[in-house]
């Protein structure tokens, strides 16, 4: 086993910022003292231990937040969910630490160093800094991370040697015990380990011995795996109201990264997701995004979401962004990339087709892209229907006995008539064939009694017209033989 420990020292501050580089100065206070500040605030000279009033004097525009343990916990949970993309075994160590068991992931990520770089690049993007510790036992990794020693320990034999020089306060023990150890003259972990174990246990309690044994791999050290919630919904408050679409970009990217990490861990995929943009005094804006086949590909989703946001016009400032994922679907293995028999490039083509429809959907809106299908019905209005694009088996042409026009008017257009002859674009129509009688439909409110004719103008424009048999015997244009 190899444990990678991430210690988020600045979590109280980082949980308030959204990962932007050039953020506003921000400092967090607890019990009347500043306990942390982000980089711009530190540049202005704000230091932990200051009075909030003094900090505010240094930075007028700076944001002041009171420490929020609930929010820290939430952020840590988000980070745990995100970390699931690296290993299925992530353990939450509140208030500010994550433990990742990475031995099983090394092969996939081509070694420890690439994995570490990937993790740290990901954290950078999300605006977090973490102390890293790597060791064969979780407690040792935890201690190394606390002590800021990021050189990995990969063998159990080397653990004792590496832990020995660490200061006593790096031990995960109560402050009382640590103080007592320092009182005994132990300054480093090596000195504590050298104490006679029965005497130390009697004076300082069992946890001391157990912790040391766990750290050195002499005692089992089970950790509970983090289980992300089954439904995915995540929320980010904007540090300040966002007025333009470009400002939302980092937030949506971050949410999608988290979502895809979540999906990978559960080995599942989604077909729909929704972005909810919350405004201060208005109903939230809802932006649905859909794909044609289940996916968890972050770059694909990001691309689609970007297209979707392109045609968004913000009417009010956005204060928070929520990403909600739809039902989870089983991931279908993509086999298109490699085909031993090299039969056809059909899967690749299908994938392209899906991409095309997703592109249309996200830019034009879903209702604007459709397919048509014939219905078993005698009235022309009901003999066809739009449907959502989806793959279907090729349809055999229905046995068609009568000629029908290729264009149908959505609703029949009344035709003017002169001397009893219908006119189309001011040209008199000559009836060619007919009548074909289409009748009834009392059961669904569209009761028709019509005589249909094929008609033609002098220039050879051919149309499909009808005349009502009941009531006003007007002529209507219903189709065009284009």
């Amino acid at each position: 086993m190899l444990w990678l420990c991430l210690h988020f020292r600045d979590l109280p501050v980082e949980c308030f910022s959204s990962g932007e580089e050039n953020a506003q100065p921000l400092f967090v206070s607890e019990a009347g003292r500043v306990i942390g500040a982000n980089r711009p605030a530190r540049h202005l000279g704000i230091r932990p231990g200051m009075l909030p009033t003094a900090a505010r004097a240094l930075s007028e525009a700076g944001l002041h937040r009171v420490r929020d343990p609930h929010r820290e916990r939430q952020t840590l949970e988000h980070l745990a969910t995100w970390a699931l993309q690296f290993t299925p075994r992530v353990s939450l160590q509140p208030p500010d630490t994550l433990l990742l068991e990475v031995a099983g992931s090394l092969h996939y990520f081509q070694g420890l160093e690439p994995l570490r770089q990937r993790i740290s690049a990901g954290l950078d993007r999300r605006g977090h800094r973490a102390g890293t510790g790597i060791a064969p036992t979780p407690t040792a990794a935890w201690m190394l991370a606390r002590a800021g020693d990021s050189t990995p320990v990969t063998t159990r034999a080397a653990v004792a040697e590496r832990l020995a020089p660490l200061p006593v306060h790096a031990l995960p023990l109560e402050k009382r015990v640590r103080d007592a150890l320092e009182g005994l003259g132990c300054e480093c972990v090596g000195a504590v380990r050298a104490l006679p174990s029965d005497g130390a246990t009697r004076r300082l309690g069992r946890p001391l011995l157990e912790t040391l044994q766990r750290a050195h791999g002499e005692r089992p050290d089970p950790r509970r795996n983090w289980q992300p919630p089954g439904q995915f919904e995540q929320h980010i408050d904007c540090p300040e109201a966002v007025a333009n679409v470009a400002g939302l970009h980092p937030l949506t990217q971050q949410l999608l990264d988290t979502l895809c990490g979540h999906l990978r861990e559960r080995d599942t995929a989604i077909m729909r997701l929704w972005f909810m943009l919350r405004h201060r005094d208005r109903d939230p804006t809802c932006l649905p995004v859909g794909v044609m086949s289940p996916t968890r590909d972050a770059s694909h989703l990001k691309w689609l979401v970007e297209r979707r946001f392109e045609r968004l016009e913000l009417t009010a400032d956005v204060t928070a962004v929520t990403l909600r994922a739809g039902r989870f679907h089983a991931m279908q293995a993509a086999s298109g990339a490699f085909d031993l028999l090299d039969r056809d490039d059909q899967p690749a083509r299908d994938a392209n087709w899906e991409t095309l429809i997703e592109t249309f959907d996200s830019r034009l809106g879903e209702e604007r892209v459709c397919m048509i299908t014939p219905m078993a019905e005698h009235r022309p209005e009901r003999a066809w229907a739009y449907r959502r694009p989806e793959k279907a088996d090729s349809s055999a042409p229905p046995p068609c006995t009568v000629a029908r026009p290729a264009w149908l008017l959505e609703r029949p257009l009344p035709l003017r008539s002169r001397q009893g002859r219908p006119q189309y674009d001011n040209a008199p129509l000559v009836l060619e064939t007919g009548p074909e009688r289409i009748e009834t439909g009392w059961w669904d409110g569209l009761d028709v009694t019509r005589d249909y004719y094929h008609a033609c103008t002098a220039e050879g424009r051919r149309v499909w017209i009808f005349r009502n048999r009941r009531g006003q015997r007007d002529w209507y244009l219903h189709g065009i033989f284009a």
Binding site: T359, V369, I372, S394, P405, W407, L409, G460, R461, F481
Partner: protein, 224 residues
């Protein structure tokens, strides 16, 4: 001397404008037969030029603009790729299209909101490489956008069929083929080839045009 010329002419790099059998480059060999023998005889390569732009200019609807491309579309729709209709002026009537042999499970209809969206959609559909043919009814289209569409059709290996008003015949166009539909009379449709790569402009009359049997015209029923 004559042999030398024949030898020269057999070089694949030589393109002869008036040779309908040999077409030009390899890309131009990829033609889609229109299904109308008279038209295929006139067009070099024997059909609509593949992966390029074809304009069909017609005055008003109902002169046979769709019937002209139906046989080609029916075959393309069963080739494993898709057909896209972008901004159709009316509802494409499913039973009629199916009866003409179009595989409706391969037909995509797009209703873009406005003109820029329509051009964008046409370009996307052409470029994607999944559409064998893209039929489009753009309301306006200038030389520059046509050029873009032509390039998109080339890169996506797709046939672009643009249906435009007859007035557009006056404008310049980079299309590989421009056909203008004339008045049809009875069994005949008169087509003018305004522009075609590899062949001079001319006109064709398509026979057995009308699908409806010509009967004796019935007298109109009296009002009442």
């Amino acid at each position: 001397m004559k042999e030398a010329i024949h030898e020269l002419l057999d070089q694949p790099g030589i393109w002869r404008a008036n040779d309908p059998q040999r077409g030009g480059s390899d890309a131009a060999l990829d033609h889609i037969p229109s299904g109308f023998a008279a038209l295929d005889r006139v067009l070099p390569g024997g059909g609509f030029p593949g992966n390029s732009l074809t304009e069909i200019l017609h005055e008003g609807h109902g002169v046979g603009e769709l019937r002209l491309v139906m046989p080609a579309l029916a075959r393309l729709s069963r080739s494993g790729r898709w057909i896209a209709m972008i901004a159709p002026p009316f509802v494409p009537y499913a039973p009629a299209l199916a009866a003409q042999g179009i595989d409706l499970s391969r037909l995509l209809i797009v209703h873009p909101g406005d003109q820029p969206q329509a051009l964008w959609s046409i370009e996307q559909a052409l470029r994607s490489g999944t559409c064998a043919a893209v039929l489009a009814w753009p309301s306006r289209c200038d030389d520059r956008s046509l050029r873009r569409l032509q390039l998109a059709a080339e890169s996506g290996d797709s046939v672009a069929l643009l249906f435009r008003d007859a007035a557009a015949a006056q404008e310049r166009s980079p299309a590989a083929l421009r056909l203008a539909l004339g008045e049809s009379s009875g069994q005949q449709l008169n087509l003018r080839v305004l522009k075609c790569r590899g062949t001079p402009p001319g006109s064709v009359a398509l026979d057995s045009w009308s699908t409806a049997p010509v009967r004796t015209q019935q007298p109109l029923p009296l009002e009442g």
